[in-house]
Subunit: 441 residues, 2 copies
C-alpha cells in the first residue's frame, strides 16, 4: 500500500473560534499538511448546533450538519475532532466516536479532567487514539513533551502559567497598579476575558489543565478535586507592589509535585523571582516548567489562547493520528499510559513546606510588631525579613506590616495567621502568598 | 499479542558520559520506563572501543564488546543506540544497523547534519525508525515539537541558543567583563568547555544543530554549508558592555528563516533585548524559539549539556521506538518528512535585512563622527542612535563610536564598514553585531 494514495477523512464537531481557525489552517497550509501527514488528509464533514454556521462549511465545500451523529456515525470519517466544549454533549461525541471505531482529537480540558478514566479506558479497549494537545497551554506542545519527550524521567514537579485571562489581569495590575475589578473590565473589553470569567479567575480552568498534566506525568487519574484551588479575585494591588520591592512578581500558577510517592497539587497566586523565565511571561502568554529527574528544568513559553494557537495544537494531533491511520498504526500503542489500579496518594497539605509572603494591616502603635512576631514565634514560623514602612499619608485603617518567612509547613502558618487575624491590633484578615524558589534557569 | 509480555532489546554503542548516564537511567527509573514503554524494555549488549569500560557493563549484568558489529549484527537487538560521536565509525554503526533491520536512536548532530540524505533515505527504504531528540538542545524535546507539535504550521523562523559552551563563555564575559580568553579558560576549568573548544567557539556545533532543525522544518536537507557561520572568538567585552547600555545582551544564536520561499540561516553573536525570555537563559542552558504561522512564538528553555540531560532525550526516543516495536508499528510511518527532490533555495545574504550595532574606534578629533556618518549615509545606512562618550582616561588608540542602525540590508552595511575601516581617522576594523528584534514574548 502506498499511503500517499490513501485518503484520511476528518470530521469536526463544533465550529466556534477554534473550529473556524482549524478549517482556515487546513485551507492555508494544505500542501504542508499533506506532506507531513503523508496521505490525502481532508475534512469531510463538520457539525455545529448553530445552523447559520453552515456558511463556514459551504465556503469550503464541506458537508454540514447540526446533528453530531452525522459525524460520529459516518463510516467515511476516520478522525473525529471534538471542539464543542463543556462536558455533556462533548462527552457524548467523544464516547460515541470511540464506540464507532473513530480516533478522537479534542481540546476539551474540562471533559478530560473530569472523565479521564472513562475516555482512556474506552480508547484502550477499542484500540483507538485520543490526542489532546490543544487542551493545555494552547500552542505549546507540552502534552507531547511530558508524555513522550520526558518519558523515562521521574517528574519531580510541573509548574505552569496555564490561564491567559488571569495572566493578562495580573500583568495589567502589575504594570498599572489597577485593582482586580478594573483590570478584569479591561481584559473583557480587549477580548482576553469572557463575559462570565468565573472559570478563569477562580482557578478552575488552571485546575483542569494541571490535573491533566499531572495525570500524564504520574500515569494515574489526578482529579481537579485532588487539588487545592485558589483564584485571583482577592488579590490586592498593594501586595503586588510590596512583592516587587522584595524582587518578586505575582502569577497564578498551577503546580503539582510528587515527593516520596505522595502527590501535592495546587492552583494559587504565587510570588516568583523577577529574574526568572516565568517573570518574562506577560499578558495572555502561557508557560510550563517541568522538573525531570534527568532532564533537569525545562521551560516552555507560548501563546495560551486564541483560535489559531489552539487550532495549531489540534492540527498537530490530527496530522499525527492521520499518519498513523494511513499506516494502520494509530491507536495500537496507547498514547497516554493510564493505570486504573494506581491510586493517587495525596500529601498532607498542612505539612507541605514553602516560603511565604505575609501582609497584615496593623494599628500604628509601638509594640504591635512584637505582638505579631510573638504569635509567629509560638507557631514556629521563622521570619526571613520584615518590612514596615511609615505611611506618607495618615492611614486611619492601619499600616501594612509585610513579612517573608523561611521554609515552613503551611499548616503552621495558617494557625499563626488565624491567631494574628484575631488580635485587636490587627485589622482584617492577613493576606499571604506562597513564594516559588525557582522558575526557570 | 499482549505487548507487556513482549521484550524489546536495546544495544548501545559508545559508553562515554551519555552512554553511562543512559545505563544509569535504565537502572534508576526501571519501573517508570517499563510502564511508559508498555513492554519489557531492557539493555542487552553494550559496546565501547575502550575495553576497560567492560566494568560499566558488567556491574549491570549486560554483555560487552569492543566490536560494534556485536551490537548492529545481533539478531536479538531491536534498537541500536549510537553514542559514538564523530561521523566515521558512527556513520558505519547507523547505516549497518539500518541495513540489518534495526531501529536507530542517535544523539549525533554532526552525522545527521552531514548525512541527512543517506540516513533518512535508507531508513525510509527499510521502514525503520531513526530518532534523534538528543542531537539538538540536550533535554529540550524540540525535535519532536518541531516535527510533530508544530506540524501543519509554516515555520517562519527558528532561533536558538544551541551551544552551552559559548553561552557559558558569553554569560561569564557579561557578568564579569572578562576577556574571551579568560572566560574560555574558566569554562574549561569548570568543565563547560573541552580542551579543544574549536567546534563550539567557531559556531560549527551550533551550525550542525540549526541545519538539523531547519531540515525538519522545511522537509529538505539544509546543510551546514548553507549557513553563514561566525563564532565568538572575536567578541570584545567592550561591545557586550556598550550593548548593555542600549538594553541588549549578547548571545550566540543559530537562526534560520524562510521568506517568500527562500531560506536564510546564520550562526552569529546577536544582541537581544534584555527583557526577552532569551536574556534569562544563562550559562550552559539552551533555548529555542520557533515562530509558527499559527502557533505564534514558542520558546523552549532547558539544560543543553550534561550526560543526564542528553541521556534523558535519548531515552525518550528509545521508549517511543520500543512502544512501536512492541506493537509492530515502529518505522512504518516515516518520523521525519524528507523529500530528496526538494532543493534549498537560499536567500541572497546581502539583501537579508536587519538592525545592527556598530562600533568603530576613531581618532578623538572634531569632525570625525561627521566623516563616518557621511560614509554610512552614502551607503543608505540610516542610524537610529549614536553614542560617543568622552573617555575618563586618555585613550591614545582612539575613542569608541557606537551606533545602532535602522533595518537595512546587511550588504549595504558591509560595504559601508569596509569603507569606514579604510578611513585614516578610524583605527582597526569596525565591529558590528546584528540585533534580534524579539526573543520571546
Amino acid at each position: 500500500v502506498n499511503p500517499r494514495t490513501q485518503s484520511v477523512t476528518v470530521g469536526i464537531v463544533g465550529i466556534g473560534t477554534v473550529g473556524a481557525a482549524l478549517l482556515d489552517l487546513f485551507e492555508t497550509n494544505d500542501r504542508i499538511i499533506r506532506g507531513k501527514a503523508g496521505c490525502d488528509l481532508r475534512v469531510g464533514v463538520v457539525c455545529d448546533k448553530r445552523a447559520d454556521r453552515v456558511k463556514i462549511a459551504r465556503s469550503r465545500g464541506v458537508r454540514f450538519s447540526t446533528d453530531y451523529r452525522r459525524v460520529t456515525d459516518d463510516p467515511s470519517v476516520d478522525i473525529v475532532v471534538e471542539l464543542v466544549g463543556g462536558t455533556t454533549v462533548a462527552g457524548e461525541v467523544v464516547m460515541r466516536a470511540l464506540e464507532n471505531g473513530k480516533h478522537v482529537v479534542t481540546a476539551n480540558k474540562a471533559l478530560l479532567a473530569s472523565r479521564w478514566d472513562a475516555v482512556f479506558s474506552l480508547a484502550r479497549q477499542r484500540r483507538r487514539a485520543v490526542y489532546f494537545e490543544g487542551a493545555v497551554a494552547g500552542s505549546i506542545p507540552v502534552v507531547q513533551a511530558l508524555n513522550e519527550g520526558l518519558a523515562g524521567n521521574h517528574i519531580r514537579s510541573i509548574t505552569g502559567i496555564l490561564n491567559g485571562t488571569t495572566n493578562y489581569i495580573l500583568t495589567t495590575m502589575t504594570a498599572s497598579g489597577r485593582s482586580y475589578a478594573t483590570a478584569l473590565t479591561e481584559a473583557q473589553r480587549r477580548g482576553f476575558a469572557e463575559a462570565d470569567p468565573t472559570m478563569d479567575v477562580t482557578g478552575a480552568d488552571t485546575a483542569h489543565k494541571l490535573a491533566i498534566l499531572s495525570s500524564i506525568a504520574y500515569s494515574r487519574w489526578v482529579k481537579p478535586s485532588h487539588l487545592r484551588v485558589q483564584g485571583i479575585r482577592e488579590v490586592e494591588p498593594e501586595d503586588i507592589s510590596f512583592a516587587r520591592g522584595f524582587g518578586y512578581v505575582m502569577k497564578l500558577l498551577g503546580r503539582g509535585e510528587e515527593r516520596d510517592g505522595a502527590y501535592h497539587g495546587e492552583v494559587r497566586p504565587y510570588l516568583i523571582p523577577s529574574d526568572s523565565v516565568f517573570a518574562t511571561v506577560h499578558n495572555e502568554f502561557n508557560a510550563v516548567m517541568i522538573q525531570g529527574s534527568h532532564a533537569g528544568d525545562l521551560v516552555f513559553v507560548g501563546r495560551g489562547a486564541g483560535g489559531a494557537a489552539a487550532a495549531s495544537a489540534v492540527l498537530s494531533d490530527v496530522i499525527y493520528v492521520a499518519r498513523g491511520t494511513a499506516h494502520h498504526t494509530a491507536g495500537l500503542a496507547p498514547y497516554v499510559v493510564y493505570d486504573p489500579d494506581l491510586e493517587v496518594r495525596l500529601a498532607n497539605r498542612a505539612e507541605v513546606p514553602g516560603s511565604f509572603y505575609i501582609r497584615c494591616t496593623a494599628v500604628d502603635r509601638p509594640g504591635v510588631l512584637a505582638q505579631i512576631a510573638a504569635v509567629l514565634g509560638r507557631h514556629q514560623v521563622s521570619l526571613a525579613s520584615v518590612y514596615q514602612k511609615q505611611p506618607i499619608t495618615a492611614r486611619p485603617l492601619g499600616v501594612p506590616v509585610v513579612m517573608l518567612t523561611h521554609r515552613i509547613p503551611e499548616g503552621r502558618l495558617e494557625s499563626a495567621l488565624a491567631e494574628i487575624g484575631s488580635l485587636t491590633v490587627v485589622k482584617g484578615k492577613p493576606a499571604y502568598y506562597k513564594i516559588l524558589d525557582s522558575a526557570g534557569t
